[in-house]
């Protein structure tokens, strides 16, 4: 796969050369640092390698300008390098940098940079690149392609477009901080207007009142919503069955019987059985004390069995198997004035805290 891609890069580079060939046939090579590295043609390498002590010259701007601010041809770059050699005491940092034209333009303004800075550049020029970056670079020199971290580290010094403003950070080269050019110096902030004139006061009022209105209306809306939600908790009509209901006469329940016909409507089993040896009728709540499923009454096994995690309860509601930690709960039950049993679901009795001895929790038979 890697090889395939490398092949295609070569092709693309060739294609790129062709397209640029209209103007100058060998322009592709130095058109960006990426391309220069991918095809380390002999033309481009002398430029970065030689200038170890090359000072930049003012005339360097000329050939660069000729190419219209675009990519310089190799010939132009060589000329620039030569000119630098002859010229004064101001070295240009990167003859092979991404935008030599810009670099050359700035050259006059720049302070001298140490010659050391060149070495990594030269080294970088040979650093292998991966295909993605080269492809992207070939397509658009101003947007280098994706890079691995290692690559980025290798390339970082070379691609700094304006070394004057941002000195290269590298272990090898620690150039002294060049003085900032004028354009890069922070502008002194315009003194803030501390005095409020009349117009400013008016705008402030308008703005303030807008914000004020906004916030007031927003909080009012939210407040109303909140009230509406609270109102929702108290519906006009409650579709719940009454919490007190009659289930028939005690004589309807045979000893040992578990009446399941009220489960659907009221969620209660009426059991005529015994607790601690005392025969009594009680109302068990049909909610498993484990996680709240509805157990089933299994007549054959004489137990309540929960289908969710397998808790089992004896007929008196005491838990004996599975994870349920407590016995089933009882509702209040009593004999009403007409002699019928009346269950009150608003009251619960829990065995584990001794509430089943409360006479309201059963009817003795």
């Amino acid at each position: 796969m890697a090889e395939k891609k490398k092949m295609s890069v070569a092709e693309i580079l060739a294609a790129a050369r062709k397209t640029d060939g209209g103007a100058t046939s060998d322009e592709a090579a130095p058109k960006s640092s990426d391309a220069a590295e991918a095809a380390p043609a002999a033309e481009s390498s002398p430029a970065p390698e030689k200038p170890a002590a090359k000072p930049a010259a003012k005339p360097a701007a000329k050939p660069a300008a000729k190419s219209g601010g675009g990519r310089p041809s190799v010939a132009e770059m060589l000329a620039a390098a030569r000119a630098e050699k002859q010229g004064g005491a101001k070295p240009a940092e990167k003859p092979a940098a991404a935008k030599p034209a810009a670099a050359a333009k700035e050259a006059p303004a720049k302070k001298p940079a140490p010659a050391k800075a060149k070495e990594p550049v030269a080294a970088k020029a040979q650093a292998p690149k991966d295909t993605g970056s080269i492809l992207a670079a070939a397509r658009n020199p101003s947007k280098p392609g994706p890079m691995t971290k290692a690559e980025a580290a290798r390339q970082a010094p070379a691609e700094k477009p304006k070394p004057a403003a941002k000195p290269v950070k590298s272990k090898l080269t620690v150039p002294p901080m060049p003085a900032k050019p004028d354009y890069a110096k922070p502008k002194p902030k315009a003194a803030a207007a501390t005095t409020t004139d009349r117009r400013g006061f008016l705008t402030g009022m308008m703005l303030g009142s807008c914000l004020g209105i906004g916030f007031v209306s927003m909080s009012t809306t939210f407040g109303l919503w909140l009230l509406g939600t609270a109102r929702f908790m108290y519906p006009n009509v409650l579709m719940e069955p009454p919490s007190q209901f009659k289930v028939g006469f005690p004589s309807n329940f045979a000893p040992g019987q578990v009446e399941t016909k009220f489960v659907g409507q009221y969620g209660v089993w009426i059991v005529n059985y015994e607790y601690n040896g005392e025969p009594q009728i009680y109302a068990l709540r049909t909610v498993c004390t484990h996680l709240g499923c509805t157990p089933n009454w299994l007549e054959g096994e004489q137990k309540f069995k929960c289908p969710c995690h397998g808790s089992g309860f004896y007929k008196d509601g005491i838990n004996f198997e599975g994870p349920a930690p407590r016995p089933l709960e009882r509702y209040a039950i009593r004999v009403a004035d007409d002699g019928q049993l009346e269950v009150d679901k608003s009251k619960l009795f829990q065995e584990e805290i001794g509430q089943w001895s409360d006479p309201a929790s059963f009817v003795a038979v």
Partner: protein, 440 residues
């Protein structure tokens, strides 16, 4: 199955099984061709060709209405093997075996053989009406698929790790570092994703048409379906609820799972194994994760899906789901074991009229053994671990990190411990304070 005779079931499933075996045959034929043509391994190719031909014969038999099944004795044996204790201990043993023999079973031919064995086992089991009823339930079909998918991915990861470990022994870099070139998002990744998306959509369409959605009767607060199962991915949690109080199994332990997973980067001091598969270089992490994932999550999901029947009883795969199956499961709290069984007294019972303080003291007296055990487990064990088996860890991790790790491990171990205690001793809660909803 009630009302349906064995013969009817067999004739119902026979055409499906015919297609199934035909699929197996073609799958192996392709493999044989691949081995012969691309790998030039004629012997292997011949073996799989023979197997493929055999599958064609079996397929013909199935189409003809007599698919091969399992004898009664084998089914009973399997039912017995899937009893809770053997199942949980057995899966753990399997995990250990898979770890020890990993160099053997990751070999492609061995893995292929294992896959074929499991697929054929599936096929012959489907003749059993109870087994067929469970695995062909629309709810469960995708889970069957997931089990095979999980097997494949476990194999893939293990194979890569084994290869890297072998390379590491020879001083070579892991395979992942060889092809270090990056892949572009566009087009490489996006195209892959697009193809996956289209394929998956097609699959979902076919699935939605072929398998009816398992809709049930309208929900009712007073009627719970029996058995009542959580979505498959929560069945591990539901299984946990069988052994613990809802507070523990529903809130504390799941949160601890999340906290523990989030704490891994903080606890991990092993710098190796970054960005490539390996087992040798991260043995501890690998084993802990495999145990937590495969044993405490996957096997529980399988248990919940296939083996939990009406009333949440455990049923073997070839057992009829009888809602009246009677199991003696009298669970006993530790305090009852201690006071009634050992001391021969009644449980100390807080009297409702006493002051709150004296009630609490009575409860503490009742539960003292469990409380002491739990405190010892969480407070005394970590230093003991630091002094013995985890000495090296303690030195590298420091006090805080080690204590965190040790407690997370202990919580993790608490689940299988409690499961085994429940099955063997019928132990319900070690600490049982239902008065304050505090049970452990």
């Amino acid at each position: 199955m009630h009302g349906v005779s064995e013969a009817e079931v067999v004739s119902g499933i026979a055409p499906f099984l015919g297609g199934y075996y035909l699929f197996l045959a073609s799958m192996n034929a392709v493999m044989a061709f691949y081995l012969w043509h691309y790998k030039h391994r004629t012997n292997d190719a011949l073996v799989w060709t023979a197997f493929s031909l055999f599958m064609v014969i079996v397929s013909a038999a199935a189409m003809g209405g007599s698919p091969p099944g399992l004898p009664e004795s084998v089914r009973n044996l399997v039912n017995w093997l899937t009893g809770p204790v053997i199942y949980s201990v057995g899966t753990t043993v399997l995990l250990v075996i898979a770890y020890v023999l990993r160099r053997w079973w990751v070999k492609p031919m061995v893995a292929w053989t294992l896959l074929n064995i499991s697929l054929v086992a599936m096929g012959v089991s489907m003749v059993d009406a109870n087994f067929a009823a469970i695995v062909t339930k629309p709810d469960n079909v995708p889970i069957v698929g997931l089990v095979f998918l999980l097997g494949f991915f476990t194999w893939l990861a293990t194979a890569k790790a084994v290869e890297n470990d072998n390379r590491a022994k020879e001083g070579l870099p892991p395979t992942e570092k060889l092809d270090d070139e990056k892949v572009l998002v566009w087009p490489d990744l996006v195209y892959t994703e697009l193809i996956c998306m289209v394929a998956l959509t097609a699959l979902l369409l076919v699935w939605a048409i072929a398998l009816q959605a398992p809709l049930e009767e309208p929900a009712s607060s007073v009627k719970t379906p029996n058995p009542s199962k959580a979505p498959w991915y929560f069945l591990g949690l539901q299984e946990m609820l069988v052994y613990y109080d809802p507070w523990m199994a529903g809130v504390v332990l799941p949160s601890l799972v999340l906290v523990g997973l989030a704490a891994i980067p903080f606890l991990d001091f092993n710098k190796l194994g970054n960005g490539y598969y390996t087992i040798e270089q991260r043995k501890f992490s690998y084993l802990v994760f495999q145990f937590g994932f495969l044993e405490l999550w996957i096997t529980l999901i399988i248990l919940g899906t296939f083996f939990r029947g009406p009333n949440w009883n455990i049923f073997g795969p070839f057992e009829f789901w009888d809602p009246h199956k009677v199991l003696a499961l009298n669970n006993v709290d530790l305090s009852q074991y201690f006071w009634i069984g050992f001391m021969g007294e009644a449980l100390p019972k807080p009297s409702p009229d006493a002051t709150t303080l004296s009630q609490i003291l009575t409860i503490l007296l009742r539960e003292w053994l469990g409380i002491v055990l739990v405190v010892l487990y969480f407070v005394a064990l970590p230093p003991l671990m630091a002094a013995t088996i985890f000495r090296g860890f303690f030195v590298k991790m420091g006090f805080l990190r080690f204590m965190l790790m040790a407690n997370l491990l202990l919580f993790m171990a608490a689940l299988p411990l409690k499961m085994v205690l429940r099955w063997t001793l019928n132990l319900k809660y070690i600490i049982a304070i239902p008065e304050f909803f505090l049970n452990f």
